[in-house]
């Protein structure tokens, strides 16, 4: 087998893994859009906020400590505890539920029946608010996030592929974990939306708010639940990305990676987010490998959008999106 083909196989596998990480972010968008028709611009910032909250809780950091110290001339920073990762994750998830409730109570409850563009603008406002709020609450320094996930080259894959191809493939242990978690998450979300009472209520609300209300579905509860789920997905994405780079402002920019995934997979399909993520991940990595060196490299950011646009030409609703038919 030629050397280039072996390299391409390694790139392909890494593209799949990167695609899973993109899909994790895209999932949060899909959940909210599916249930409420809102394109949640704040999803990336929610990942940052969730991860910062997790680090803060685990390290026992006093929230708003800079503000408190400046106002009251005190010098408090820590509660003095260090929580294990699981407890931290559970508390951070609970905090995201609280955030979901607040978002619903103070923002979207007042915007029921408004045009989608108004709701979208509200999420832009929410994104900027959360950015500042996160800085104020937990500080803007880079935070190391360690919840015990393995990182670095998987030695078993390296050795196994070396025996076959005379070249060991690099696969990051963190990417393998992310793939397993994403698979479990998608499976659980599909089961939830198809087979539980709450999931069916979520789908009913997505189909028609008024009709759902008329049969006694509590719209507020469903929306809080959906924002909570999106918050939990944001927490998972924040953990995966934050483990790689530390928790910092740039985490909020991972939303940019999810947009082409959504365009390709469709805004309303959970499996679509996964398949879209995989196609984008593999496509951009293979393009960078094959064409990148000829055009000066750094093609991934723009190529993902080009790939999504090509799909849009042939299938505007995305691969798995619902076809919109409007009759005159």
């Amino acid at each position: 087998m030629s050397e280039q083909l072996v390299y391409a196989m390694e790139v392909f596998l890494n593209g799949l893994m990167a695609g899973v990480l993109y899909a994790l972010v895209a999932l949060g968008f899909v959940l909210i859009y599916k249930a409420s028709g809102i394109f949640n611009y704040a999803q990336g910032v929610m990942a940052l906020f969730a991860a910062a909250t997790l680090v803060g809780i685990m390290k026992g950091q006093v929230p708003f400590s800079h503000l408190i110290n400046a106002v009251f001339d005190t010098d408090i920073h820590h509660f003095g505890w260090h929580l294990p990762a699981l407890a931290g994750i559970l508390l951070a998830a609970a905090f995201m539920v609280l955030l979901a409730w607040m978002v619903q109570k103070f923002v979207f409850r007042h915007l029921v029946g408004q045009e989608p563009i108004i709701l979208f603008m509200a999420t832009i406002g929410l994104a900027y608010f959360l950015e500042g709020f996160s800085d104020l609450m937990w500080g803007s320094e880079i935070k190391k996030l360690d919840v015990g996930l393995p990182q670095g080259m998987n030695t078993w894959i390296d050795e196994a592929t070396f025996k076959i191809f005379d070249y060991g493939f690099f696969i990051d242990n963190l990417d393998i974990v992310a793939t397993i978690i994403a698979a479990i998450l998608v499976f659980a979300l599909v089961l939830f939306s198809q087979y539980t009472k709450e999931g069916r209520a979520m789908r009913a609300v997505a189909d028609d708010h008024q009709a759902a209300l008329s049969v006694g579905i509590n719209l507020n509860f469903v929306w809080v639940m959906v924002w909570s789920l999106a918050g939990f997905v944001a927490l998972v994405a924040g953990i995966m990305w934050g483990t790689k780079s530390g928790v910092q402002f740039s985490l909020s920019l991972i939303a940019l990676k999810a947009l082409p995934v959504l365009m390709l997979g469709g805004f309303t399909s959970i499996p679509g987010a996964i398949v879209g993520g995989l196609i984008i991940g593999v496509g951009e990595k293979l393009f960078e490998f094959a064409i990148g060196p000829m055009v000066g490299g750094a093609t991934e950011n723009w190529f993902a959008y080009v790939l999504a646009l090509i799909f849009l030409v042939f299938r505007p609703q995305g691969l798995f999106g619902e076809k919109i038919i409007e009759r005159v």
Binding site: D73, S245, G297, A298, E300
Partner: protein, 427 residues
């Protein structure tokens, strides 16, 4: 009533005598956005040094220093807005802390007769003061940094790096591309093979780049990164088991927050510097006594001694020394921006002065002149000790290869002069 108040105000002014205006130092900072982790310690160091001068010495030459901080978010448009908003406040010198903002401000500051100091960043050829009359980039620039990196490789290879493979991992922006020409010229001279590996903003995902490095197996990697790109690159290098001692970052890729998230795996990573690291300098005792303990620190006081805090402090010290020089030249403590420019052009920093300021061996000795706004281009090498969680200076401040760099500066500045119909020359 109005007349009475006016009379009282006039009388009060006469009793107080002539009041000196503050010496205004704008700080175009970024405490928010994707690069805040780097912007905050620099801004804190810059602010704290002026606070120290005010509290300990009563200002500069008896006149208080006033800091005007304006948030740019590392955004070029906002940076220009900050400049326009603050230049009328008596601004003496600008430190844009962004290459993009620097490029926009070069013609503006020249027209407004306000000097600009771009220490270790900005337009490298601004070192030619005959063309860039109001831009200064002493004591070192990007091209010096590239050469210092290669000099280090020469040093650890017994002076011969012929046939070695060097990869440049760079932020795919004007900043990141700056060293390419210098490294290409140096590769012709020393016979190493240069591979270019660009990383798009923000650099959160670099799998392709590090797979390429793993395949190409370079002997050394030099990085020109900023923000999250640094942390991800160091983590990815650790993941592919690239030897950290062969991984060298420019000074914008060598702060504590760049290496801490990779933990022990970052041990041995190197970074070029043009100033001292750590807090083992007397000036930090003064900062503690006169600034932090009095509750006057710009931030929470937790950045003191960090690499980028030290850089901000160093920039402020150079600005203050230039202001003192300007006061001496013009015989007045109440200097203008134009006078400040003269002070910067006549600035001399030597070890005696640095020791007196509580910063012995903190940076190189140098003299600025009209022909040389870039200083000597000296730099040293630091290395990260993950166990102790600190940077150590592992070399002296050595020279860069001006034989290669000077012709590049001359060519680029001449092209700028031609494009802008400028007549180069010193007054």
């Amino acid at each position: 009533m109005k007349k009475t108040l006016a009379t009282m105000a006039l009388a009060a002014t006469m009793v107080a005598g002539p009041v000196m205006a503050d010496l205004v130092f704008p700080s175009l900072s970024y405490r928010t956005g994707p690069y805040a982790a780097g912007g905050i310690p620099f801004a804190d160091g810059y602010a704290d040094y002026f606070t120290l001068l005010n509290e300990r010495d009563g200002g500069i030459g008896g006149v208080k220093a006033k800091l005007l901080e304006c948030e740019t978010g590392y955004n070029t448009e906002k940076g220009v807005e900050c400049y326009e908003a603050t230049k009328g406040e008596g601004a003496l010198v600008y430190q844009p802390l962004s290459t993009g903002i620097t490029y926009q401000l070069i013609p503006k500051t020249t027209a407004d007769d306000i000097p600009m100091h771009t220490m270790g960043y900005g337009r490298t050829s601004a070192a030619n003061g005959a063309v860039f009359s109001h831009t200064f980039n002493y004591p070192a620039n990007y091209w010096n940094g590239a050469s210092i990196g290669i000099n280090h490789l020469l040093e650890i290879n017994g002076g011969d790096i012929k046939g070695k493979k060097v990869a440049l991992v760079y932020h795919n922006s004007a900043y990141g591309k700056e060293p390419i020409r210098t490294l290409e010229e140096l590769s012709k001279k020393h016979g190493y093979e240069l591979n270019l590996v660009p990383v798009d903003h923000p650099g959160q995902e670099q799998k392709s780049q590090w797979l390429q490095i793993r395949r190409d197996k370079p002997d050394y990697v030099i990085m020109y990164g900023w923000g999250v790109m640094n942390q991800v690159a160091i983590q990815e290098a650790a993941n592919i088991r690239f030897p950290m001692e062969n991984f060298i970052g420019i000074w914008w890729s060598g702060a504590e927050h760049d290496v801490l998230s990779a933990g022990d795996k970052a041990n041995g990573y190197k970074a070029i510097t043009f100033h001292g690291v750590g807090r083992d300098f007397p000036v930090f005792d003064d900062i503690k006594t006169h600034v932090v303990d009095k509750g006057l620190a710009a931030g929470a006081g937790d950045q003191v001694g960090n690499v980028l805090y030290n850089r901000g402090l160093y920039a402020a010290m150079l600005a203050a020394e230039a202001a003192k020089t300007a006061q001496g030249i013009h015989g007045t403590a109440d200097i203008t921006a134009s006078m400040m420019r003269d002070g910067m052009e006549a600035l001399e920093i030597n070890e005696e002065k640095m020791t007196a300021l509580g910063m012995p061996n903190f940076g190189p000795s140098f003299k600025v002149s009209c022909m040389n706004h870039g200083g000597p281009g000296l730099g040293g090498m630091t290395q990260w000790d993950a166990a102790a969680q600190k940077w150590n200076l592992i070399s002296d401040f050595g020279p860069s290869d001006m034989e290669v760099i000077q012709p590049l500066i001359d060519a680029d500045s001449a092209a700028y002069a031609k494009e802008n119909s400028l007549e180069a020359g010193c007054k």
